[in-house]
Amino acid sequence: MIQLCSNDDPPVSFTVPRKAVELSKTIKTMLEDLEGFDMEQTPIPLPNVDAPTLELIVKWVEQHQDDPPPVEKPRVEDDDSDDSDADDDQEPEVVIPEWDKKFLPTDDEQKNQLFKLLNAANYLEIKPLLDIGCKYVADKISGQTVEWVRDYLNMENDYTPEEEAKLKEEIAWAEGL
C-alpha cells in the first residue's frame, strides 16, 4: 500500500493499493525510480492536489485498478512536433462509462471541482481520467454560445472591440452554412 498526501495544512493522507496508484504515470515512474526504498512507509506529498480532489482521484483509481491497460500506439517516426496521440484514421471515440458519469462532479456548482480534478489528473498523468473529463467538458461546451462557454470556463473576454470585430469577420465565411 502507498500513502498519498494532499497539499493542505495539515496534509490529509490516503492509503491506496500500489496497483491502483500506478494508474498515475507520474507516481509509477517515481516508484520505479525509487525501487529499493521502502515506499510503503514513506508518504508521497502531492503539492498540486488538495484533499477533496485527492479523495476523488483515489476513488477513481481504486475503481479502475483492474481495467486492462490502454493500448500504447507505436509512435510514428516523422510525426514532428505534434504531441497529440489522436488517431486520425478513426473517428475519435471516447465513451464515458456509466460509473464515471456518476463519479464526475457534473453539477454546475461543482464545476470548479471538476476543473481541479482535471488539473490533478493532468499533473498525475492519469490519461483515461483526463480523457473522460475533457470529453465531458467538450460535450458540455459543444453547441453553446461563446458567452456561455466563457462563463462556464471562468474565462474573461480580453479582446478589444476592434479585435473582436476582426475575429468575427475572419470566421464569418461559414455563416449561413
Binding site: 481541479k116 467538450a138 475575429l167
Partner: protein
Amino acid sequence: MSTDTMLLSLPNELLRRILEFLPYDRVCVCRMVCRQFDRVAKQHLNTGFRRLEQFHGRSMAKVKQHLPRRESERRSHPLSRHSDILTAIETRLSLLGMTYNKFIDLDLCCFIPGKVLDETFAILRVLNHSLDDKTQPARPHELLQELRDISSMAMEHFDEKMAPFLRDRALSGCSPVKNARDSLSMVMIGAMRCNASAPMSSSSLLPPTLPSSSSGSLLPSCSSINPAPSSLTAGDVDGRTERLHARVKISRKMLQYDSLLTDFATDYNSRTGEDDVEQQQPSTSRQAEKLNQPSPKNRSRKRQIAEATDEMVVEKKRGRRAKRQ
C-alpha cells in the same frame, strides 16, 4: 489554490485536449472566447491541417499500393474511384495550402476554415472504410460536392476579406517576421504584394506557361503575369528573390488550373455515367490539349486513339528488338 479553480490556470495542453473532442468547426467559434483560447485553437487548427495532409498521404499510399502502374489498366481497376477522389482532395489541399500556408508561416493567421477540415477528414474516413470493406464509395462528384463548395467559399472569403489586411500588416513591418526564415518570408511577402496588385480570380486560372492557342473553349484566357515588384522592402530584393517570387505565383496558378481540370473531369464523368475518370494529374500540356478539344466525345475518342498508338509503338519496339536478336 484559488487560481487553480479556474480553467484559465490550466496548462494550454489541457485546453487542447478539450478541443480535440470538438469538431474543428466548433473550435473556430471557440476562438472568440478569449485570447488564450484563441492561441490554443489556432495551434490546434494548424496542426489539424498538417494531420489532414498526413492522413491523406497515408490513404493515397494505401490505394496506390493496390493500383496497377499502367494508366489504362488503372481505369478499370475497382479502386479507380478511390484514386480519383484522393487526387481531387490532393488538389484541394494544395490549393488550401497555397492560400493559407504563407500567412501561417509568418504567424499572421491560422488555418481558418475548420469546417473544411471536418469535411475532408470525414471523406477520407469514408474512403478508408470502403477500402477495408471492399465496397465502392459514392460517386466523386457526390462525395466531393460539399468539400468543393465550402473550401472555395473559405478561400474566396480569405482572399477578399483577410489577405489584403494581412498583407498590409506584413508589409508595414508589425508582423513577427523575425521568426520567419529570412529569404523565404521575403519571397512570400513579395508574392502577397504581387497578388495584391493582381488579385486571384476565377477568370484568370490558366497558367501563364500555356500557349495562347491552348486556352480553349472551356476556360477564359489567362491574364498575363504581373511583373515582379521592383522592390519588396528597402535593400532586401535582388534578382533571385524576384525569380523565386514568380515561381510561387506560377505554381499557385498551376494548382488552381489543375483543380479546375480535376473538377471538370469528375463532373464530366459523373454526367456521362463513366467511372473511369483519369487517375493521374496529367502534365500541363496534355491538359491543355484536352481542353482544346471541342466535345467530350472527341476527347474520349482521341484518348482511345492515343492509347492505341502507344500500344502500337510498344509493339513495334518489341518487334524490332526481336528482329535484332
